[in-house]
């Protein structure tokens, strides 16, 4: 059987390439080629440009590299704690803002979205200053007598992770909230009305209507946030400088260190980067499968 016929004689075909040509060429040079090159590089090792084939040596090295394990563990901690907290928070905010009875909701929405306007570097630096040992946060908590001694946010491995989690939640909750809010606005208000008449309180409405209706978008934002966590760099670099003793080092930050802080090993850095590719591919597959099932 003949394949589907697409519109157009040869001349419009040429016009089509004229329009997309620049983008295709640029993408091939600065995206497709580097992806392949980086994959090949991941089987090589050496300092600087003196590179030789190393087979699976880099992957073996990954399994013994304590710093890499630490970076992976850090990423995992962010994913387990930060992503769920943020999504629950964003969902709650969105459902409150969606209530027609709430006054000033435009004002609240703008305020809560505002953190998304900052650059990652700027807000990271801001958080570093607020959470210094004698800084604003400790100062306030001591004043209110919530704590008796300042919390070593930047000096203690546990609290440093908490700080990164707080910072990420501040920066991204409003962003995710916007996705939920626009999805909520597509739900018929009459569904909520019917539930109210049946005696469902706000909490059971949230659990029984909001969450199931928003399932696809919740999945989408979870996957996007997890991918974001895997690619974390600016925060790790500017809030905690990866410290203390690598307790907040992200995978991308470690790649940067392997490339530029020590003697550059392009091959090994490429191998680490493919670990991120591997996880992102799995996540995308999960997203694809589940959203496919929903549509079926």
């Amino acid at each position: 059987m003949k394949s589907i016929r697409y519109r157009g004689e040869p001349s419009t075909n040429l016009t089509g390439w004229l329009f997309v040509g620049a983008a295709v060429l640029l993408c091939a040079t600065f995206c497709l080629y580097p992806i392949i090159s980086s994959f090949l590089l991941s089987f090589q090792t050496g300092r600087g440009n003196q590179i030789r084939f190393n087979g699976l040596g880099n992957i073996r090295r990954l399994f013994q590299d304590a710093v890499f394990h630490q970076a992976l563990k850090n990423t995992f901690v962010y994913f387990i704690f930060q992503v769920p907290v943020m999504i629950v928070l964003a969902l709650s905010i969105a459902s409150v803002l969606n209530s027609p009875k709430l006054r000033f909701n435009g004002l609240f929405r703008t305020a809560i979205f505002l953190p998304c306007v900052t650059s990652l570097v700027a807000y990271s630096v801001l958080f570093r200053s607020m959470f210094s040992l004698e800084g604003l946060v400790n100062h306030t908590l001591l004043r209110l007598q919530f704590i008796s001694a300042p919390i070593p946010w930047l000096l203690d491995p546990f609290w440093a992770k908490v700080l990164i989690i707080i910072a990420l939640t501040w920066r991204w909750t409003g962003y995710n909230m916007m996705f939920y809010l626009s999805a909520l606005q597509n739900i018929e208000p009459s569904i909520y009305e019917a539930a109210r008449i049946d005696g469902a309180g706000p909490l059971s409405q949230f659990r029984l209507i909001t969450i199931p209706m928003l399932k696809p978008i919740i999945l989408f934002t979870s996957v996007m946030s997890t991918i974001g966590t895997l690619q974390l760099f600016d925060e790790s670099m500017n809030i905690t400088l990866g410290g203390p003793s690598n307790a907040t080092l992200s995978i991308s930050h470690y790649i940067y260190n392997v490339l530029f802080l020590f003697t550059p090993n392009f091959g090994y850095a490429a191998t680490i980067s493919y670990v991120i590719v591997f996880f992102v591919a799995i996540l995308a597959l999960i997203q694809f499968k589940i959203s496919g099932e929903d549509n079926a």
């Binding site: 089509g16 200053s129 790649i255």
Partner: protein
Amino acid sequence: MPKNSYSSSRAQSAISGSLAYIFISVVAFFSVFPFLWMIIGATNTSKDISMGKLSFGTALIDNFRSLGSVVNLGLVFRNTTIVTLVGTFCTLLVASMAGYGFEMYRSKARERTYSLMLLTMMVPFAAVMIPLFRMFAKARMLNSFAAIILPAVASIFVIFFFRQSTRTFSKELIQASRVDGLGEIQAFFLIYLPSMKSTFAAAAIIVFMSYWNNFLWPLIILQTNNKKLLTLAISSLNSSYTPDYGVIMLVIILATTPTLAIFFSMQRQFVEGMLGSVK
């Protein structure tokens, strides 16, 4: 229905209503507070800031002076503006033409190309930056603005954004322009572009933000002070052994003001661009 149950549900909804206000106000307060802190901080000395002083001080002029002595502000702003404006212009041109081309002139080969390009969107920048760095080193283009802009011009996300938006564009307009004797490229610039202003605005904002706030790639590529960008300047002030917080707050304000101004003047397009969707 018994009367008391009705009034108790009224009371319940009043309580949940006020809880909603308390909750949303607390969240809004914490969202906005760091902005106030940054403005207050810019008027205080570094010592006062690190002690958590919460009132306006008198050190604003001094902070400006010390900022001027550690950072060549004019140069850094000029560099950042050049990269952002040139980059935004190139990206919008290339990506809008591609999004339009993929949607309006369909062929099997182009659909395959498009799918492949979408697939590369999944690959994180960390995996691409190593070969990119070596490529620009080989071409002797390290420390150049071209090296910052070129890899970002064919942004797949923006191409995707334009293709999605083009679906809502009425193709009859282009057919009518053909009847009127307009060429294909002319039709793009004279018919499509003016009728998609909102899409272009949303895309321009998101692209502007990505260049203005870019950090990792410039950090790798740019090596000398005369090419320094704002994010790099902030980061290096921050990682010095004795960071001057007053100066840092001031430079953060300067870096954030343009994006804040764009946000407040074009909120709808801003959010559309960020969410990557036009309804």
